[in-house]
C-alpha cells in the first residue's frame, strides 16, 4: 500500500530558559488511506504532532524530522507556496472547539466559499452548490439557514459539523482531526463521529484522529498510537487493544471508571520514570 504520509523521527523543540525542551521526541509512523488514532494525555505531544504535519508548529517551536513526506512531497523543505497548495486542498484539519476555530465575524457560507475560492476556479453558483451539498452531507437539516448564519448562532454540534463541512469541501486526501468531539455533548459526539465515519469511508481519505479518549479512538480507528511524554510507547491495531503490552496503555485502560461497575477504588496509573526516557 502506498503510504500517504510518512513520518520518521519527528522532533519538536521549544526554547526555554534552561535550553530547548523537546515536546515530541522521535515519533515514527506511516499512514495509508486508513484511520489512525493518536492517543495521549495532556503534555504527550499528540496535538503538536498533528500540527507539525501541517507545518503549523507555533513559533518559537521548531519541528525537525528525518522524513516527513506527504504523497511524495517533502514537507520539511516546503515553501509557503507549496503549503498554500496543500493546506485546505489536500490536507485539512478539524479542531476541537468551533467557538474558537470558526471566524466569528464571517457567515458559515462565506467561510466555506473562501475555502473553495482559493483552491478552485468554479463559478460562484457552482461553488455555492458544492457548499450546500457539503452541508447536507454533514446532516444539517436546514443548510440554507446555516449558510447564512454566524458561528455564534449555532450550537456546538452544528458548529462542529459546519467546520467538518468547511474542511472537507475541497476533498482533501488527508484529514487531521484534533479532539473533534471533546467539546461536544456525548449524544452529539456520536452523531458527529458517524458523519465523519461515513465521509471518510466514502471518500477514501486518510484520517488521523487525535484524542485523549482511548476507548473512543479504539472504537473509531483502525490503528492506534499511544503517546507518552513525546514518544510513541505503543502502536497496535484497535481491535487488539485488550492485548496491549505497554504498562502505560494498560494502566490508561484500567483507570477509567466503567458504567458496568468495576474496581473500587479505581486502579491508579503508576508512572514509571523509564517511560519518559
Amino acid at each position: 500500500m502506498n503510504a500517504l504520509l510518512t513520518v520518521k523521527d519527528l522532533r519538536i523543540a521549544f526554547p526555554s530558559r534552561n535550553g530547548p525542551v523537546e515536546v515530541v521526541r522521535g515519533v515514527n509512523f506511516t499512514l495509508g488511506r486508513e484511520r489512525l488514532g493518536i492517543v495521549g494525555e495532556s503534555g504527550s505531544g499528540k496535538s503538536q504532532t498533528g500540527r507539525a504535519i501541517l507545518g503549523l508548529t507555533p513559533s518559537p517551536g521548531l519541528a525537525t524530522a528525518k522524513q516527513l513526506e506527504f504523497d511524495g512531497i517533502d514537507l520539511r523543505q516546503a515553501s509557503p507556496a507549496t503549503w498554500r497548495s496543500l493546506r485546505g486542498a489536500r490536507m485539512s484539519m478539524v479542531m476541537q472547539d468551533p467557538k474558537f476555530s470558526l471566524n466569528p465575524v464571517m457567515t458559515i457560507g462565506r467561510q466555506i466559499l473562501e475555502a473553495l475560492k482559493f483552491h478552485g476556479r468554479e463559478s460562484r453558483a457552482a461553488s455555492k452548490a458544492r457548499a450546500m451539498a457539503m452541508l447536507e452531507a454533514v446532516h444539517i437539516r436546514d443548510p440554507e439557514r446555516v449558510f447564512r448564519a454566524y458561528p455564534h448562532e449555532l450550537s456546538g454540534g452544528m458548529g462542529q459539523r459546519a467546520m467538518i463541512a468547511m474542511m472537507l469541501v475541497s476533498e482533501p486526501d488527508l484529514l487531521i482531526a484534533d479532539e473533534p468531539t471533546s467539546a461536544l455533548d456525548v449524544t452529539v459526539q456520536i452523531e458527529v463521529l458517524r458523519i465523519l465515519d461515513n465521509l471518510v469511508s466514502e471518500r477514501g481519505m486518510g484520517l488521523i484522529f487525535i484524542s485523549h479518549d482511548l476507548r473512543l479512538v479504539s472504537s473509531f480507528c483502525d490503528r492506534v498510537l499511544v503517546m507518552y511524554a513525546g514518544k510513541v510507547v505503543e502502536e497496535l491495531r484497535a481491535s487488539d487493544l485488550a492485548k496491549a503490552q505497554h504498562p502505560y496503555t494498560q494502566g490508561l485502560m484500567n483507570c477509567l471508571p466503567k458504567i458496568e461497575g468495576g474496581a473500587r477504588p479505581l486502579p491508579v496509573l503508576q508512572r514509571d520514570a523509564a517511560w519518559a526516557t
Binding site: 465515519d197 485523549h212 482511548l214 472504537s219 471508571p257 466503567k258
Partner: protein, 258 residues
C-alpha cells in the same frame, strides 16, 4: 441511618435579563440521605450545575424550596450554612485565585469563621488530600491541574462541612489524574461520613461514585435511577437510554439520535 440531609422540592431557577427569560431549572425535586453520594447527570444546558448553585445561593431559587439538614435556607445564606455546605468547582485553572498562595487559599476560610489552630488545620488539610507541606507556599500556576483540584478539595474540607457539592470535579483532568481524584473523594467520604451531590456529564463517573442519580434534560429531571437500575438497563425514558447508549462509545451501529 438515613435522615434526609438535603431536600429539594419543585425547584425553579429562572434567569431574567430584560426580555430574555431562561428557565434553567424547572420543577426539580429530589432528596439526599446523609452519607449518600447523589449524582446529577445531564448534557450542557440541562441545568445540572444550576441546581448546585441554587443550593449554595449562587443562583436565585425563583420557586420551590431547599432545605439542608432539615433547616430551610435563609437568603442570603448565613455563616452556619457555609460551615456545613461547601463546593468544589469544575475548572481547576479557574477556582484558585492566581495571586494567592495555597496557604492564603486555605487560611482565608479559617480567618473568616475564626477557627483556632489555623496552622495545624492547614497542615492537616494538605496531608489529607495527599499534598505535602512543600506545596503550602506555592502559587497556583506552579501546580498541575490535578494538584490544583486537590487544593480546591482541601479548601472545601477545611471548614469541616457535612455536605460537599461537586460540580464536574474531574472533567477537566486527564484520565489518570481523574482516577486519583475520584479515589480521594471516595476515601474522604467514607472516612468522614460526608454527603455528596455530584454533577457530571460523564455517566461512567457518576455510576462509579454515586448510589442514586437523576438525569436532567433542558432544566427538567427526566428520571431518577439507582446504580443497579442503570447497570441493569432498566432506564425507562428514551433520553436516559439514549444517554446510556452514547456513553458506551461509538460503534457503527449506534442508534440514530432522537
Amino acid at each position: 441511618m438515613g435522615n434526609v440531609m438535603i431536600d429539594i422540592n419543585s425547584l425553579d431557577v429562572t434567569f431574567r435579563r430584560g426580555r430574555d427569560v431562561v428557565r434553567a431549572v424547572s420543577d426539580v425535586s429530589f432528596s439526599v440521605t446523609e452519607g449518600e453520594c447523589f449524582g446529577i447527570v445531564g448534557e450542557s444546558g440541562s441545568g445540572k450545575s444550576t441546581v448546585l448553585r441554587a443550593i449554595c445561593g449562587l443562583a436565585p431559587a425563583t420557586a420551590g424550596n431547599i432545605s439542608v439538614n432539615e433547616r430551610q435556607l435563609s437568603r442570603p445564606r448565613d455563616a452556619a450554612f457555609y460551615r456545613s455546605v461547601q463546593m468544589v468547582f469544575q475548572d481547576p485553572y479557574a477556582s484558585l485565585h492566581p495571586r494567592h498562595t495555597i496557604d492564603g487559599v486555605l487560611s482565608e476560610p479559617l480567618a473568616i469563621h475564626r477557627f483556632d489552630r489555623a496552622e495545624e488545620r492547614i497542615e492537616n488539610a494538605l496531608r489529607d488530600v495527599g499534598l505535602g507541606s512543600d506545596f503550602r507556599f506555592r502559587y497556583p500556576h506552579q501546580l498541575s491541574g490535578g494538584q490544583r483540584q486537590r487544593v480546591a478539595i482541601a479548601r472545601a474540607l477545611i471548614l469541616e462541612p457535612k455536605v460537599l457539592l461537586l460540580d464536574e470535579p474531574t472533567s477537566a483532568l486527564d484520565a489518570s489524574i481523574q482516577a486519583e481524584v475520584l479515589n480521594l473523594l471516595d476515601r474522604i467520604r467514607s472516612e468522614r461520613g460526608l454527603t455528596y451531590v455530584m454533577v457530571s456529564h460523564d455517566l461512567a463517573v457518576v455510576a462509579h461514585m454515586c448510589d442514586r442519580l437523576i438525569v436532567m434534560q433542558h432544566g427538567r429531571a427526566v428520571e431518577e435511577l439507582t446504580r443497579e437500575g442503570l447497570l441493569s438497563q432498566s432506564a425507562r425514558t428514551d433520553y436516559s437510554r439514549q444517554l446510556l447508549a452514547a456513553s458506551k462509545g461509538y460503534s457503527a451501529s449506534s442508534p440514530q439520535q432522537v
